[in-house]
C-alpha cells in the first residue's frame, strides 16, 4: 500500500501564562492508503493537537513546525489557507468528538451535508442531495428524505454522529480524521457506530486516523496503532503485535492496568502505573516516562530515539532506551505464565 500521509518531526507549541507548553514534541508517522491508524494516548498527550495541526485548524496563537507533512505528495506545512480550503472537506475530512456541538444548530442537516460538495465546480444541487441521501441511508439513518429537512436538535447524539460521519464522506475523501468519535455515546450505540465506520472505511478504501484513549476500541478497529505519551509517539506497530508483544514500558503498563475478563482475578489489585503524566510546560528533556517507569535509571535522562525491530513490512518501533530489558521482562512474564 502506498503512503498517503507522511508526517515528519511535527511540533506544536502553545504559549501559556506559565511558559511554553510543548503539546506535540516532534512526532513522525505515516498513514497508508485505506488503512485505519489509531492514535492512542491519555488526555494531554497531544493527540488532538496533532489532528488539528494536520487539518490546519490549530488555535491562532499556537506555533506549529514540521520538516514536512506530505499529503499525497503535497506538503501541507506552510500551505496557504486558501489552498488548504481546497483540500479540507474534499480530500481530508474530520469527525469531531462532540456530536452535540459540531453541527450548526441554525441550518438544516441537508444544508450542512451538501455544503462542502457544492463548493466544488460542476456539482449540481440534485447531485449533492442524491449523495447525501445515499450516505444517510448507508450510515443507518431511516427516512433520510425527512431528515434532510430537520435541524440538529431534533436528533439524538448517536444520530448526530451518524450525520457527521455521512458528512465527512460526502466528497469521497482520501483521509478522515476521527477525533474520539464515540466517546460521548453509550456503549451499545458506540459498537454500532464503530462497526459502521469500519465497514464504510473498508468499502470506500478511505484512510482513517482514529484518535481514542480506549484500548478496547483500538484492539477491535485498528490496522496499525501509534501510542502517544507526553507529546511523542512512543510505540508504533500493527494491532496484533501491539497487544501480543508491547515493547514500550508505558504500553505494557497500560495493557496491564485494565481489568480484562478471564485474565484479571476479580477483586485483585490491578497493576497501576504510579504517578502522573509530567507537565509539558517549559524545557522537557530525557524520556518523559522515566518518573513512572520501573525500568528507568540515570541513563534515561538522555533523549530516547525510535528503535526499529521487525521487518520492513511489519515494523515495530518503540522509543525507549531500555528496550532489551523491557523485552526480557515480557519474555520472563510469558515463561512464568
Amino acid at each position: 500500500m502506498s503512503v498517503l500521509l507522511d508526517v515528519k518531526n511535527l511540533k506544536v507549541d502553545l504559549p501559556t501564562e506559565n511558559g511554553m507548553l510543548h503539546a506535540v514534541r516532534g512526532i513522525d508517522f505515516q498513514v497508508r492508503r485505506g488503512e485505519m491508524l489509531c492514535l492512542v494516548g491519555e488526555s494531554g498527550c497531544g493527540k488532538s493537537m496533532t489532528s488539528l495541526a494536520l487539518m490546519g485548524l490549530l488555535p491562532r496563537k499556537a506555533q506549529c513546525s514540521a520538516d514536512h507533512i506530505l499529503f499525497d505528495g503535497v506538503d501541507l506545512h506552510g500551505m496557504r489557507e486558501k489552498q488548504l480550503m481546497q483540500l479540507r472537506g474534499k480530500r481530508m475530512a474530520m469527525i469531531f468528538q462532540e456530536p452535540m456541538t459540531s453541527l450548526n444548530p441554525s441550518y438544516t442537516l441537508g444544508n450542512q451535508l451538501c455544503e462542502a460538495m457544492l463548493q466544488q465546480p460542476g456539482v449540481s444541487r440534485a447531485e449533492a442531495r442524491e449523495r447525501a441521501l445515499y450516505l444517510l441511508h448507508r450510515t443507518g439513518i431511516g427516512n433520510a428524505e425527512d431528515r434532510l429537512r430537520q435541524y440538529p436538535h431534533q436528533l439524538s447524539g448517536g444520530l448526530r454522529q451518524r450525520v457527521m460521519i455521512a458528512m465527512s464522506l460526502m466528497c469521497h475523501p482520501d483521509l478522515i480524521i476521527a477525533d474520539e468519535p464515540t466517546t460521548a455515546l453509550d456503549v451499545t450505540i458506540q459498537a454500532q457506530i464503530l462497526r459502521m465506520i469500519r465497514e464504510l472505511q473498508q468499502e470506500f478504501g478511505t484512510a482513517v486516523i482514529f484518535i481514542t484513549h480506549d484500548l478496547g476500541v483500538v484492539s477491535r478497529i485498528a490496522d496499525r496503532v501509534a501510542v502517544m505519551y507526553a507529546g511523542q509517539v512512543v510505540e508504533t506497530t500493527d494491532v496484533a503485535q501491539l497487544f501480543a508483544q508491547p515493547r514500550h514500558p508505558y504500553t505494557q503498563g497500560l495493557l496491564n492496568c485494565i481489568p480484562v475478563r478471564g485474565k484479571t482475578l476479580p477483586g485483585s489489585h490491578l497493576q497501576a502505573i504510579p504517578g502522573v503524566v509530567p507537565s509539558l510546560v517549559g524545557q522537557v528533556s530525557g524520556c518523559a516516562f522515566r518518573n513512572r517507569c520501573a525500568k528507568a535509571d540515570s541513563g534515561c535522562e538522555r533523549d530516547p530515539q525510535m528503535v526499529q525491530q521487525g521487518s520492513a513490512t511489519a515494523a515495530h518501533e518503540a522509543r525507549c532506551l531500555k528496550l532489551d530489558a523491557a523485552t526480557d521482562a515480557v519474555d520472563a512474564m510469558e515463561v512464568a505464565a
Partner: protein, 280 residues
C-alpha cells in the same frame, strides 16, 4: 489482595433497602394539554447487604443517577422509601442521612469547591456535624488524607492545582471522613485516564477492606464492574431488568438487554472485530 470476594457476604444484614422506589417527573406539553409523566425510576426494589459491592449498570438516561440522588436524600422520591440499617430516614434529617451514606461523584473537576483548600474541603463535613474541636478535626483530616495517598504538601493546595486522580482521592477522603457505612460511587473513574483509573480502583478496594464499607457502584464500564462487584443490577428505562451475582450475569445473562450490553462491551481483544448488534 483483598479477600472481600472470598468471604461470603452475610445475607441477613441489610445495610440499605429500597422499597418500590419511584420518581416521576411532570413533562410540560402545551398550555391546555395535561402534563405528561416521565417515569425516571419505576418501582425499584433493591437490597444492599453489609460489606458487599453492588454494581448498577445501564446506559445514559436509564435512571441510575436519579436513583443515586434519591438514596443520598438529595431528591425526594415520588413514592416508595429508603431504609438505612432497617430504619426509615426522615427526609428533613439530612445530617443523620449523611452520617450513613456518602457519595463519590463522577466529575472531580466540578464536585470540589475551587475556592477552598483540600484540608478545608475534607474537613467541612466534620465541622457541619460538630465533631470534636478544631485540633481533633485537623488531625482527622490529616489521617484520612494520608490514607487516600495525598502527600502532606497538597493539603493546603486548591483543587485546580491537583490532577484528576488526586481530585478524586480528595473526594473519596471527604466521603469517608464521617465514617459512613455506605458509599454511592457514581462513575468514579469515568473522567480519569486509564493509567490513573487503576490507582483509584485499587484504593477503593483497600478502603472497603479496611472500613468494611458497602458500595453501590454505578458504572457503564463492564470491565470495571466485573472487577469490583459481588452482584450486578442492570437498569433499563427506569427499571431493574436483571439482578444476579457477578459470575452469573457475565456467564449466563438472562435478559436480552443485558446480553446486548455485554455484547457491545469492547474488551481489548484484537482479531475479534466489532460485534454486530441489532440496530436500536
Amino acid at each position: 489482595m483483598s479477600n472481600s470476594h472470598q468471604e461470603p457476604v452475610p445475607l441477613d444484614d441489610i445495610a440499605l433497602e429500597l422499597c418500590a422506589l419511584t420518581k416521576v417527573y411532570p413533562l410540560k406539553r402545551g398550555l391546555f394539554q395535561p402534563p405528561g409523566r416521565l417515569k425516571a425510576v419505576n418501582d425499584v426494589s433493591l437490597r444492599l447487604y453489609r460489606g458487599e459491592t453492588l454494581g448498577l449498570v445501564g446506559e445514559s438516561g436509564c435512571g441510575k443517577s436519579t436513583l443515586a440522588k434519591m438514596l443520598l436524600g438529595l431528591l425526594p422520591p415520588t413514592s416508595g422509601n429508603v431504609l438505612i440499617n432497617g430504619q426509615e430516614v426522615d427526609p428533613t434529617e439530612r445530617k443523620a442521612h449523611a452520617r450513613h451514606i456518602q457519595p463519590i461523584f463522577q466529575d472531580p473537576y466540578s464536585s470540589l469547591n475551587p475556592r477552598k483548600t483540600v484540608a478545608e474541603i475534607v474537613g467541612l463535613p466534620l465541622k457541619l456535624h460538630g465533631v470534636g474541636n478544631a485540633a481533633q478535626r485537623s488531625r482527622q483530616v490529616k489521617d484520612i488524607l494520608d490514607l487516600v495517598g495525598m502527600p502532606e504538601r497538597t493539603h493546603a493546595q486548591y483543587p485546580n492545582q491537583l490532577s484528576g486522580g488526586q481530585r478524586q482521592r480528595v473526594a473519596i477522603a471527604r466521603a469517608l471522613i464521617l465514617r459512613p457505612d455506605i458509599l454511592i460511587c457514581d462513575e468514579p473513574t469515568s473522567a480519569l485516564d486509564v493509567s490513573v483509573q487503576a490507582q483509584i480502583l485499587n484504593l477503593l478496594l483497600d478502603l472497603k477492606a479496611e472500613f468494611g464499607l458497602t458500595y453501590l457502584f454505578i458504572s457503564h464500564d463492564l470491565g470495571v464492574v466485573e472487577h469490583l462487584v459481588d452482584r450486578v443490577a442492570v437498569m433499563n428505562q427506569g427499571s431493574i431488568v436483571e439482578l444476579q451475582s457477578r459470575a452469573q450475569i457475565f456467564s449466563e445473562p438472562q435478559h436480552p438487554y443485558t446480553r446486548m450490553l455485554l455484547a457491545s462491551a469492547l474488551t481489548p481483544d484484537p482479531g475479534r472485530g466489532i460485534p454486530a448488534l441489532a440496530a436500536a
